[in-house]
Symmetry: C2
Subunit: 292 residues, 2 copies
DNA sequence: GATCTGTCTATTGTAGATAAAAGACAGAAG
DNA sequence: CTTCTGTCTTTTATCTACAATAGACAGATC
């Protein structure tokens, strides 16, 4: 295969979701916009919808014949892009276990294990190297530096610098800046989840990312915002594979977030700094506990 | 061609330099160590040295027959690795002119212009993207964000945070830490160059990088140290293509460095911060002047 | 005349192949 | 018994090819 058609499959599935509720389909360019794909892909989707008898399609006329059923969807395994698959597979290896710092990483071996070509693995490793967990020996292998306490400390040191500055910048956003509305919506979601924390504590991971990214954005500095990718990926996988005390940890973090959010809304620099520091301190401790 | 033999050619040239002074050759593993290449490459070098009649070689016996002459060397164009060629060629395009922010970057076109395959260009762009000057639209082209004043300001904002912290950390290095000796050697070189600044001001670029990298290293934080790559590459090409007032600018920067170095040696936090801030301020202004 | 569709072209994402370079191992030489 | 060389295998760096996807343009439809 030269290229996976995951863009098509994923967009197709999302199109089926649209059809669940709506009984009509927009024009090709409009659909492309909605699904975030090109018209070429839209036409491939329409062609398939017609093939499986979901619609009748002739030029502008698109008649929905029936509601989609489970069997119409592509299996979710087939809708992940190759880079997502490689990332997950790689992160599992290095965060979830058995990967000693100093270990060599072999492109060919990794590619075979994941069932993909070497080019994709290589490109993934290059992209991933900016996270500071691996390093290349030119003309030779990659070296795993490992998810060690040093890594966690270096990461959080920079994070603290960046987030304190971003939080301070947040206080100076215009009153009508959309970030304030987003902040309220995030706060509301926190309260909702906390009210039913036993069942919904797993939603914290995504919320956490949304909140901190919003704060970092206030810096209006691409390097600070981009750096948040590293935090996000580390915490994302960390939450996924380190479940000890998850409910309790998440509840505590959400309480801290709410204090932090109130501080931001007060625009009082000292209060913001205090709330931010407190939260970052406990985030650092959480992360440190899971290093090897 | 599957792979350029630039490693071989470059190591071969460096081996000739060794032969200029020395009249004997060490064992294969030792030579490999000296040149930083594998024994496979060392043997390829020895084979060629024999072919062009520079040595006689039989097992452990290596007899140098004559001194190398200019014609023995590979031309320098052939010793640059592909990624260096791509980097230079790309930086010239975006820093030296005619590249508007928002412009699309076409992998195939770039590859053709540089005379290389698309894979190498792609990998370069991925590596380069961490510098914040370009951005990828998935399944589509790259977008040039451009060497704009915003870029320069965002870059220097982070740089200032990092360097102030690193400089402060420098003051706490052990007395016997090798960085102190390196600092002295850097200071001496500054004085040397300043004494003959009209002829030697071009050496500043390299010296600047050496000095600031030394300071950043004191942070012992991989993210801070890695970030210095961005500064280094930007300033490197900036010095190369923006020659207006170069002599004067460099002289001023060197004076500032000397004050900064003295401050570091005093280990007085306030004095360090002051010297560091002054220098960073003028570095920022220099950079800003050359943005478009 | 604005927006749509049919058709065509250009570009990206990925696999597979191959030369260069690294590196492993056994036997030779000190 | 340590270090070297001869030989062989493994891995990386790079090219080329090709399907998926994006995107451009002209004529059709509202």
């Amino acid at each position: 295969m030269a290229k996976q058609n995951t863009v098509f499959k994923d967009a197709f599935n999302r199109c089926l979701v649209l059809l669940e509720t709506s009984s009509a389909l927009a024009s090709e360019p409009e659909l492309g916009n909605t699904l975030g794909v090109s018209r070429t892909t839209v036409r491939a989707i329409l062609t398939r919808l017609e093939e499986i008898g979901l619609i009748e399609w002739s030029k502008r006329r698109k008649v929905v014949l029936r509601k989609p059923v489970a069997a119409d969807y592509f299996p979710t395994e087939e809708t992940d892009s190759l880079s997502e698959i490689i990332e997950r597979s790689f992160m599992r290896r290095i965060l979830a276990g058995g990967a000693e710092p100093g270990m060599q990483i072999n492109e060919l071996e990794l590619a075979r294990e994941i069932g993909t070509g070497t080019t994709s693995v290589r490109e993934f490793l290059i992209r991933f190297s900016r996270f500071g967990l691996i390093e290349k020996r030119p003309n030779s292998h990659w070296v795993l530096k490992g998810f060690t306490p040093e890594f966690a400390l270096e990461l959080t040191e920079v994070r603290e610098m960046f987030e304190l500055r971003s939080a301070a910048a947040f206080a100076h956003l215009q009153d009508d800046h959309p970030a304030w509305a987003e902040l309220d919506s995030i706060a509301a979601l926190h309260r909702e989840i906390l009210a039913d924390v036993d069942n919904r504590y797993r939603e914290f991971s995504e919320l956490d990312e949304r909140f901190h990214l919003l704060v970092h954005r206030a810096s209006r500095n691409r390097f600070i915002i981009d750096f948040y990718d590293i935090i996000a990926i580390v915490f994302h996988y960390h939450y996924q594979w380190n479940k000890t005390n998850a409910r309790q940890r998440n509840a505590r973090a959400m309480e801290e977030h709410l204090v932090y959010i109130e501080a931001l809304k007060s625009r009082d620099p000292a209060r913001i700094e205090d709330a931010c520091r407190r939260h970052l301190k406990s985030a650092r401790e959480t992360l440190l506990q899971s290093t090897n």
